[in-house]
């Protein structure tokens, strides 16, 4: 059972793309890969005001991930708490995971020659901190939610 979830309050999000850069700088990523993205629908008029909603997407940390079994070296791992992450030492950069993932979430990191993906900033989370994108979201629209089992 997944323990965590990233939730965007799209009413509060202003589409400033801060989260994308917060994530990249935290992971020291070069130009190229993005581990999360902000997008919006085309504008449509609601009561005379052209409006849109913002969407946030990172990795879905699937209950039953496609990326894990395909990995030839066992580098893609799902933790007890549901976080799907890459063991960088074991990753050979073959990108089979990206091919298997329906949304092509894992990305190639040209600086390391390996795959990289959202890991819910597990190093931070394990220290009791929030993920980078959440900690620094400009408007605090993005939340890291710990799911309760009922």
């Amino acid at each position: 059972m997944n323990k965590y979830m990233l939730y965007l309050n799209s009413k509060r999000c202003i589409g400033c793309h801060g989260c994308e850069v917060h994530c990249k700088t935290n992971k020291e990523l070069p130009v190229g890969p993005f581990l999360c993205e902000i997008s919006h629908d085309p504008l449509t008029a609601v009561k005379g005001v052209p409006k849109t909603e913002f969407h946030f997407r990172s990795c879905y940390h699937c209950e039953d991930p496609y990326c894990v079994p395909i990995c030839p070296t066992g580098a893609m791992i799902k933790r007890e708490d549901g976080i799907v992450y890459i063991d960088t030492d074991a990753c050979i950069g073959c990108m089979a995971c990206a091919g298997a993932c329906p949304w092509h979430i894992p990305q190639f990191n040209p600086a390391t020659g390996k795959a990289v993906k959202c890991d819910y900033c597990m190093d931070r989370v394990d220290k009791g901190l929030k993920p980078a994108c959440v900690s620094k979201c400009t408007t605090h629209a993005l939340k890291f939610v710990t799911l309760q089992e009922v």
């Binding site: 009413k11 504008l43 005379g48 052209p50 605090h140």
Partner: protein
Amino acid sequence: MAKTVWSMCGMCSVRCPIRVEVEDGKIKWIEGNPHLLGGALCAKGSAAIALHKDSERPQQPLIRRGGRGAGKWDPVSWETALDYVAEKINNIREKYGARAMMLSCRGGPWADLPKAFIHALGSPNFTNHDSACGRNVHHACKTLYGVGRKGFIYDIKNTKHLVLFGRNILASLRVAEVQQVMDMLDKGGRLTYVDVRQSLTGIKSTNFMQVRPGTDYALALGMIHGIIKAEAYDKEFIEKYTTGFDELVSFIEPYDVNWAAKECGIKVGRLKRFIKEVTEDRPKVVFHPGWMLSRYRDSFYASRALSILNVLMGNIEIEGGQQFPKTPGDCGIKGLRTLDSQIPKPEEKRADGVGWKYKHFDKGPGLFHLFYEAMATGEPYPIKGIICYRHDPFNCFPDVTAQKEALDNCELIVSIDTHYSEFGWYSDVILPESMFLERETPIATQKGPKPRFILRQRAVEPRFDTKPSWEIFKRLADKLGAGEYFPYNTIEEYWNWQLEPTGYSIEDFNEKGFVSLTDKPIMYDRDNLDGKFKTPSSKIEFVSQVLKEAGLPSLKPYESPQKPAKGKFRLVFGRSPVHAHGHTINNPLLHELFPENSLWINTRSAAKLGIKEGDLVDVIAETRKGTVKAHVTDFIHPEAVYTVHGFGRQVPLQSRAYHAGMSDQKLQEGLLQDMDPAGGGLCLCEKFVIVRRSSRNPKRRVEL
């Protein structure tokens, strides 16, 4: 172990307070100061780390070789560069007097240092970029309240209704202010947004009015009319604190809501609904008087009308309204010591004419563009040397060709900046300042309901042979025989000298990066605001005595803006949340998000010209042309085309930004001296351009 360094972001001119984590001399983490911003930061703030790592910035002092702008440089030591500049300044002082030197800076909380420097040289000619930005707003406030635009802060969080005329507040992105806007909306507050196009801010609005370009003043007049007719204004406040209300009432008579709606091209129902909402929400309604309003012929009057609307609301010194920013003095604490106050004021008249020829303008920074006239004509006296500190006139003032012509009369052009500015590229000497994570800055005062002192510590050592400005100005002053006015050798000495009268010490900043001067927000007694309005009558003046003496109207009859000629469009510009004008275009991570600008054009206008989404279009002024991709949209007025400012840079060493996108200011030919006589701001949206589908759109490709 990572250590915390307290700093202030330097990616845009908001200067959000930040906390930086440094380990082994490397920056590990940058976040908004948790005590003030709860960690929040924008994309630019995080991308500071990419700026630090970027090598495409000046790495040591450079002296020009070959013609101006040729891009040939001799890298030299600091000693050589400062000697060179000092000798040139001394020559100019001998030949033409000290007044022939001028200095322009970026403005903001640290203007004391550069201002002190030029005054210490003996020249009165200190200026900044504001005549291409907020001067109209500033003077509009001054002629109404007697205090400038920084004379009020807006308690947005607690307001019930925020009204924005083209103030794209969410994209301009002051983190603390954006949080306030979102908090206000979360609490059910209303946001009215007026613009010629839909923007990031407009999509969050509860009432949106897309007006014909250049008609903001008409809409504001219609609002004044509607509010006065509905008697939805604070009679007591107006009685007590204002003069000229009767003149306002008779002036406004012809400008009713039906007229205004027609003039602006909006439905009158929207305006009527707005008046009704304001009636419900007052006095907690804030009309933002605008920020960058160097736009239309009547922007000064539009801004003044917005300030008048605030007065009608009676929103001054209330929760959810406009409040006076409180000073250290209001907390019973002496202010920071300033360098400039120790220097004898140069008695010479300013070369821009402000203070003597133009008595209604604020003498503080004067008006930058008027110095170009002095350069070109030698009147009232010649300007022969210019230092621009963190200010890039080629990026913010119109018509770069005309600027260069004027500058060619100068014997010395110096740029002090962290990056290659376009102006720097044309200058004689570049003195590279360390980027903000690599330097300290003097302590600053931040006024507000809870005023504070705040500082920027050095997070990491400079990667290149660059220096902080406190050292650059000090060393230059030493060489020019004015070192006594900069009584420090280290930043600690400087900080201690600043702090001495306040009773605080540097250690007091260790915990939070700032010192709060009060626990509770301070409010003045609203029933006793006497002395707070610094007009000649000590009242809020609907009809300004200062303007009257200058022979200018306070309540100016409306004139309809020019319609573009057939086949032409009015060129308007704005900004994106991921760039701070030209400063950030070359930042690797921000470039990745937004590599080039586009041209917004209305769907119907585009169809007539055969332009489709993504097509390359030529945007043509008299002698200049830009080519960018078209963004075809319903959400811009058919008379206007829009682009994001700051692109089209021409510094070859900025490989990412070089010729990426289009520069609006280079197309603004003929606008360099197109000044609003009452407000002092330039009229930068008074440019009409031809748009056509570019011949560069491929029809077929011949590859071999």
